[in-house]
Amino acid sequence: MMTVAAPTTQKSEKFIVPIGPQHPALKEPGHFEFAVDGEIVTDATVRLGYVHRGIEKGTESRNWAQNLYLLERICGICSHTHAFAYVLGVEQLAEVEAPPRARAIRMVVAELERVHSHFLWLGVGAHEAGFDTLFMYSWRDRETVMDLLESLTGNRVNYSACVLGGVKFDINGEQTKGILEGLDFLEKRTHHYLNVIQQDALFLQRTRGVGVMTQQQARQLGVVGPTARASGVARDLRIDAPGQHYNDFNVNMILETDGDLAARFVVRIRDLFESYRIIREILSNMPEGDLVVKRMPRKIKAGETISRVEAPRGEAFYYIKSNGSEMPERIKVRTPTLCNMASVLTLTVGQHLADVPMILVGIDPCFSCNDRSVTVTQPSGQREHWTWEQVRRFGIEYYQRQGGQ
């Protein structure tokens, strides 16, 4: 264990109120800096690292199997995605292929995870807009899919479904039935929620026309996942690169063209229907066979590979390099949020500071951003540290001045 001398002084007059999960979107700490000219944001940067643990380096001193669990704990919302991308990469390097049944089970878990993640985000977005009832109801219904995942995998968050060369468990008939019943219920509810977010006038006031990203911008910024698809950029690895994990089942692209927050809500909700359909299709065509390959080497052949998986938030990118030993040489993880985060910073430039919070939530930031401390640099060069709450208040007051005229 390393010892670190305690810093003697607090670095600045930063007033930090770590606001807990009342804003579940923004759970993990990050530090945004927005330079403003009047009310217009002229520059934006972010300081992450409050939850930086050094996982990439950590992988280099753990063996291949241990790394599976370390990487799974990069993110508690899309844990399966990380495990999935990692085992795909390692299997490519080791030149083994998981049995078809194992691949199907992985996909089922991945899609169930997507369902839970989107429901989570729906609640979070609603909460951020101040619609707590929608938050409560969507999280109530989310428990359905959490129950399914728990009874299927044995844990509600870190599913540990994958092992190198296969999966840990089978899906039996009873579970299939349970999943199908759960999906029927969720589908009904999802229709309802789609109606709500498309029609509730007060809710739309907070989302329509906020944080608009054009298709051109989305392309240039390299955003991924639903954030890109809400701007009309057809980018979904399940369709683009089916070779890796979705080869047996076709997925339809869900696109919206408005590019605003409302579109991001709609894309995710419509994504859910697609997930339901895929899960049903997989369950009704479940291939037979083993769950794990007969022989998975402890030492992985030297070489390097790239594996990508469509996480609920977009493309997760893994670069894995092996030197032929029991431990990897280098693993590089690029989470989808990092890609999308850049878009937030670029998008907020030229926008009113008041719109920043909702834009940030709109990308479904997963690994980042709360403590929500913001530095505002005035044109005079004077720097002030604001909490997230202050930015929100600032925004509210700004609008008030606008509206009060």
Partner: protein, 147 residues
């Protein structure tokens, strides 16, 4: 070969010192450091994919080189630009002038592997704590974790 990869081959051809296809849908292009910006401009001008990640791989103290990989993705295809950056002259040009969103990747690269990014708009630390000692780069092989 996928048609998109063929386009990429022709786009990068003028500067590539070596081209390889390590796996289906993948293209590795080795470059000299000074040619990075022209290649990226060419890819960007042709709207070929998007910058998916920048990976830095330390090849070890014996070699004394950090390999920097720029991954571009378009559909199933991945083009990787490979650059070799020696320890004693650890700097590289920023691509932020062409791809502004690369800033994150560059900040990460520079703090983790000690590569100076020339001309990057923001060289502040992104992940490492404020009290992290200067000149210590965690992803270098010479950095050994205690405990």
């Amino acid at each position: 070969m996928d048609v998109r990869l063929e386009t990429a081959v022709s786009l990068t051809k003028p500067w590539a010192t070596e081209t390889a296809e390590p796996a289906p849908y993948r293209l590795d292009v080795s470059l000299e450091r000074e040619n990075l910006l022209p290649v990226i401009s060419a890819l960007f001008a042709a709207e070929w994919g998007y910058l998916s990640a920048i990976t830095g791989v330390d090849l070890g103290t014996a070699v004394g080189v950090v390999e920097v990989l720029y991954h571009f993705c378009e559909g199933p295809c991945i083009v990787t630009l490979r650059l070799r950056v020696p320890y004693d002259d650890a700097q590289i040009d920023s691509v932020c002038s062409i791809i502004p969103s690369a800033s994150f990747f560059e900040r990460e690269l520079s703090e983790m592997l000690g590569i100076t990014i020339v001309g990057t708009p923001n060289a502040d630390r992104l992940f490492l704590p404020d009290d992290w000692p200067l000149g210590v780069y965690p992803l270098r092989k010479e950095y050994v974790m205690q405990g």
